[in-house]
Symmetry: C2
Subunit: 311 residues, 2 copies
């Protein structure tokens, strides 16, 4: 098929079309067909609280990698990202600038409205970008929800972005975020409090048990590219570490296992919706449950047993 | 069993124990047994961006309802909530004060670490509190992740809390949040910009198609209880509206359907983990997938077909 041929060449229109088809979720023929061409892209997750400047950082990293002649895919799962249309007009124009470049493809994922499936869809889009020959896929997620964190977790290098003014309400979040971090960035490093945040973070990481990789804690001012060279260098170091230590294989395995599970879940939900549950029967059950004659758990168990019997 | 008898009487220690048992997830015997005693609590969801003062508002609402002699359950799904230990010491002490009162039970839900199941667990805890005789269950969620929003969505009255300084990065979020709102609160109403935010919101809601319920847009300063009386009054109005219009039945049905679905999903995942997938076989599959000889989708389909055949 021409569409897939053109996708593999990195044609932007074809990428967009394949993504639409994948999102429509009608069968997995295309994913099956592009799958042999995936496995070459390096996945970088950028996560942190709203307002940490993640998109500006993604922008700066992408520009640096572009200058090194790499092809870049960007996926924004963050509802507050300018990539997904959630910020000031000025920001959006600045980002738009990047999207016009030949070797960049930007895709934003809706985090509202769709009931579930966000995690799976994001990873499917990443596969399409992988097949399209992207060297790096940058995935921006807001580090609050579980789904978003789960997406970050399947990336090869996970960057956690914080800002001094994140404030105390972010404290609780930080602990969880820092656990997944391969690189920590204190962005807006010219603002008051950034040095003490840096020291605090270094202290916290010094207390942790040593592993093969020491988490670098960097200061950036993404708006004027300050610190970006060093950040990209550390991404390279982490990539090298993963490759040498064979950790990269573990990550790839995890990603595959994850895909298998998510696909099974999606298909089972569809199966339940389409074939097992009879609407009228379900309505009768719900009536009984509302009268508290039976619990939803009993009914669910019954439906499931029917399904497993080939119902 | 004494434990359940004591739970039904509202004994705090028994509530905590039953919640632990429910969270351990070993069978649904307890949920089945308490289910006949549920269906009486009114569920209020409080959601909004981090830093909007949701916990302080929950605190103020709870205190007001306590003075009216109601029993209150509070569930904090927000990782930045002081109820779940995520804020300044001062805040935590203020909240702790509430937890010492006889007719209040506070439970925070971990939003990190657990891979999935948060939504189901939250609703299970709500059922326990319902059976324990709570008149109102207040559920605080941060309005960013999908799971958290999904939890808010099954509440009877959904309150969306915003603050003027939420800033542009929150704009994108607002649209999605406001769609689920039954009541909108502009908190920290003494700060600059709150009046213009109020006007902006009123304008936005005026443009929406009319339904039976007009969404009130209120200003509060939760830290000194300002506006709380009116807010609680509007909660009462909304409750009355739901009851008179029979909308409450629809919500209850939705909640039950939701429970059935979530229970089925949980059980299917367990079933897959425990019986269908052989680890060694899976390892072999993953090797093949890593060599790109087959796609994860094909393997997933195979596993699923085996399961449906009673495998």
């Amino acid at each position: 098929m021409d569409l897939i041929k053109n996708l593999l060449k990195g044609d932007k229109l074809s990428i967009a079309r394949v993504i639409s088809q994948v999102e429509d979720d009608t069968g997995y023929d295309i994913l099956d067909r592009i799958y042999p061409y995936t496995g070459n892209a390096y996945h970088i997750g950028i996560t942190g609280p709203p307002g940490a400047g993640k998109s500006t950082l993604v922008n700066a990293i992408a520009k640096k990698l572009l200058r090194e002649s790499y092809k870049i895919g960007i996926i924004a799962v963050d509802p507050t990202s300018p990539f997904s249309g959630g910020a000031l007009l000025g920001d959006r124009i600045r980002m738009g600038d990047l999207s016009l470049q030949k070797n960049v493809f930007i895709r934003s994922m809706a985090t509202r409205g769709s009931l579930g499936g966000l995690s799976k869809k994001t990873k499917d889009v990443a596969l399409v970008l992988d097949a399209a020959g992207m060297d790096y896929i940058l995935i921006e997620t807001v580090g609050v929800g579980q789904v978003e964190l789960d997406i970050a977790q399947v990336c090869d290098t996970k960057i956690v972005v914080l800002v001094p003014e994140s404030g105390d309400s972010i404290q609780a979040m930080k602990a969880g975020l820092l656990e997944i971090a391969d690189i920590v960035v204190v962005n807006k490093g010219d603002r008051e409090g950034s040095d003490s945040l840096l020291i605090e973070l270094k202290f916290a990481f010094d207390l942790k048990p040593k592993t093969g990789w020491r988490v670098p804690i960097l200061k950036t001012i993404a708006t004027d590219d300050s610190g970006i060279d060093e950040l990209v260098k550390e991404i390279g170091n982490h990539k090298e570490y993963l490759e040498k230590s064979d950790e990269i294989k573990k990550l790839q395995k995890m990603r595959i296992l994850n895909q298998i599970h998510e696909y099974i879940e999606t298909e089972i939900k569809r199966h339940l919706r389409e074939t097992v549950i009879d609407d009228k029967e379900l309505d009768r059950y719900i009536e009984k449950i509302m009268e508290r004659k039976v619990s939803p758990y009993k009914i669910a168990r019954k439906i499931m047993e029917n399904m497993l019997k080939g119902g």
